[in-house]
Symmetry: C2
Subunit: 433 residues, 2 copies
């Protein structure tokens, strides 16, 4: 028995808006932040589970307050029991009807649940002495199905459907694991394309991204069409012929405007248009997908839960599914999202960047390859070169690929000195004053 | 010039779970609560704007924390300017990109914005010396259109579409206003049907509801089919032949289960099935609507924003639209929802009950009748007999109708002594201890 005796939260903020890192048409001045939680037990191993929600500044304190409301589900509980049945543990949070009212299953409260679930997975993987991706990849199909909440999914994906997908992936697990350890998982980079960057910086970063071996670059668009045309032309002339350049509008447009704008950029052959409109507009995405074909539509970083992913797939509103490690209800709900994508045969290219999103989400893509989709074709993980130095196990990029992590845990643990230095009431308020 | 010099928030909770008031299949033990905000200025009139978010207990503190993050948009600002252009004021909050990340436009952060917007409308109506419904009903079509955020709506509803609807309603405004003052607006009651009530209490309350002149009653269902059959039979035998009895599953079912369950209750001729499944499942609602016809589908109290309402209407997933006064971005976004319903010719029967939802939402239905839809046919406002005594202008029900309020304001102001007595750190924690 290992009693949970500590649930600490931290309001961690970085003043990234000062350098315009991460600027786009909807988010001109983000201050990358993390509502951070540490779960500790009285076990002699001293292991902790770390999790967080990525936010972009103001309101990070609200996100922390939401995590704080979950303390009573954890403190005094036996971690052995909670970790042994993470499906039941996830339902503990889901079935807190008073908290559910604040969503349901969306926004601040849902992300708080995700952070705690991810922290528990971090603890479980550390106890197993395995990196999370490998730990998950060794679960049986039946164990994986028991982790997924099929509520609201069964018209499209039943437990039996999921079992069929997972069982088909049992043969070859070892081989794919070895492949990942040898080759890693392909990455693409948004580094060159933030809206706040100068043309010169854009051109230079495009050349550097290609030289570094990234598979694709991505440009933020949607501020001004003339600027977008100019920047796409610069990008195209600084990468090899046929090199994929995705574009990302960060929800800037209405349906009609999205179709017009993307078609105006078609000559530059965008690899995909990302977040063309409201992440809530399932039917809008379907209309846009029809209106801009053959340009593909990508979305998901703001999709609030598995019910939205289900529908985006049902209406073919999405050609590339972009899961996010901290937007939904943690590892468990992202398993549902991966299974839905596999059912529809749609590639998953996770959203990352921010604070620690790369560190966290790589585990999900690697689990997906080994145990769910069995393919890396057309799949890449986003990469942005921000703030990795604050993590105990920072991502490692080699020749444009995520190196498969081998350290135990979910990758979500920040350095103690970084937590202390960037907790809001300490450094951040001074920098901004 | 009237400078906003005070934004006070309160965490107000009532221990309603002790009596099982408000219990349903998804919410067995709600403690009706309000995350409450008061906006004051330095004007000599001493008027204040009051607004709130209704929650059901735990997490009300998170909701208050979210309202607190909006203070910097208000304090020190000229209320004259903010109130004169409430469209621009609503965009102030919408365009705070750091806070937007926490939704976007959904959940805790979006409801917080709604509370503040509603508080400002309360202040504006008080300054005008008019009840909010009348104040809104006297705006020109152009002024109303300027209040609505058409972002993400224009594929279905443009400003021109809205103008056309509103201009068609200008003739007859006076007459409809007089009608409302004379006759009020029809109500239905959920009073008899809470899951936690005994069969005897159910039967008695059904008879009382009919005697009181209510147009319809509503039963909570979805816990156990045998119980639902028994309770529907009791209800049917305690109301006149053909009297409408709606049923409400509070999101309990998956799509297939919803269709089966409702069809099993069809013999009792339910007036509508409310919230059969996840409020996020637009396509699911459409499938259910097809599967249970001619039973109508009602939903909306948990629809997070205008984008969801748009889609529910686009796919004919809803036959009765249930707006809620505090779930979305305030009066402004509910104007969008009313316009969408009018465009599709779908009746609006607001969700109410909880704490103060009746007091607030009646203004929207009355505005809708005078200035938007021009009809009360098939329209009713939900009524639950809870906690009205805490409001400065409590709703008045006469012969099953909401009496049109004539006191200035939005109806959202609680009594100072109620705020003091039920602020969480005072009374609530003692009652529950």
């Amino acid at each position: 028995m290992a009693v949970i005796n500590r649930v600490d939260t931290f309001d961690i903020r970085f003043p990234t808006s000062l350098s315009l890192d991460g600027s786009d048409a909807m988010n001109p001045d983000p201050d990358y932040s993390a509502a951070y939680v540490v779960v500790g037990t009285d076990a002699p191993d001293g292991l902790e589970g770390h999790g967080f929600v990525f936010t972009i500044g103001r309101g990070n304190d609200v996100q922390v307050a939401a995590i704080d409301t979950l303390r009573h589900h954890l403190l005094g509980r036996d971690a052995d029991v909670l970790l042994a049945d993470m499906g039941a543990t996830a339902r503990l949070f889901r079935d807190d009807s008073q908290l559910r009212w604040l969503g349901p299953e969306k926004g601040v409260m849902h992300m708080a649940i995700g952070a705690v679930i991810n922290a528990l997975w971090d603890l479980r993987a550390k106890r197993a002495g395995e990196p999370l991706w490998l730990h998950l990849s060794r679960l049986s199909p039946e164990e994986i199905v028991a982790l997924v909440d099929f509520r609201y999914l069964t018209d499209v994906l039943t437990p039996d459907d999921a079992l069929e997908i997972l069982r088909a992936a049992v043969p070859g697990r070892e081989e794919r694991t070895e492949q990942l350890l040898r080759e890693g998982y392909a990455a693409y980079t948004t580094g060159p394309g933030w809206l706040g960057y100068s043309d010169e910086k854009l051109a230079r970063l495009c050349r550097e991204a290609v030289a570094a071996g990234f598979r694709q670059i991505k440009l933020k668009v949607g501020g001004d069409l003339g600027d977008d045309v100019r920047r796409m032309r610069i990008a195209r002339s600084n990468v090899p012929d046929g090199f994929p350049i995705a574009i990302d509008a960060n929800q800037r447009w209405d349906v009609g405007a999205a179709i017009e704008w993307v078609n105006a950029l078609k000559e530059f052959e965008p690899a995909w248009i990302e977040e063309p409109t409201s992440p809530d507009d399932v039917l809008g995405h379907a209309a846009i997908a029809r209106g801009v074909a053959p340009v593909r539509v990508a979305t998901g970083e703001h999709a609030q839960n598995r019910v939205m992913f289900k529908q985006l797939l049902q209406v073919r509103g999405v050609d590339v599914l972009q899961i996010d490690a901290t937007r939904v209800g943690g590892v468990n709900e992202n398993m549902a999202n991966l299974l839905l994508a596999a059912k529809f045969g749609i590639p998953v290219c996770p959203h990352a960047g921010g604070v620690g999103l790369c560190e966290a989400v790589q585990h999900l893509s690697m689990f997906d390859y080994v145990a769910v989709s069995r393919t890396r074709e057309g799949r890449m993980i986003e990469y942005a070169d921000h703030l990795h130095e604050h993590f105990v196990v920072p991502v490692e990029i080699r020749e444009g690929h995520y190196v498969a992590p081998t350290a135990p845990g979910a990758g979500t643990e920040m350095l103690a000195e970084s937590i202390a230095a960037h907790s809001w009431r300490n450094s951040y308020s001074e920098v901004r004053a």
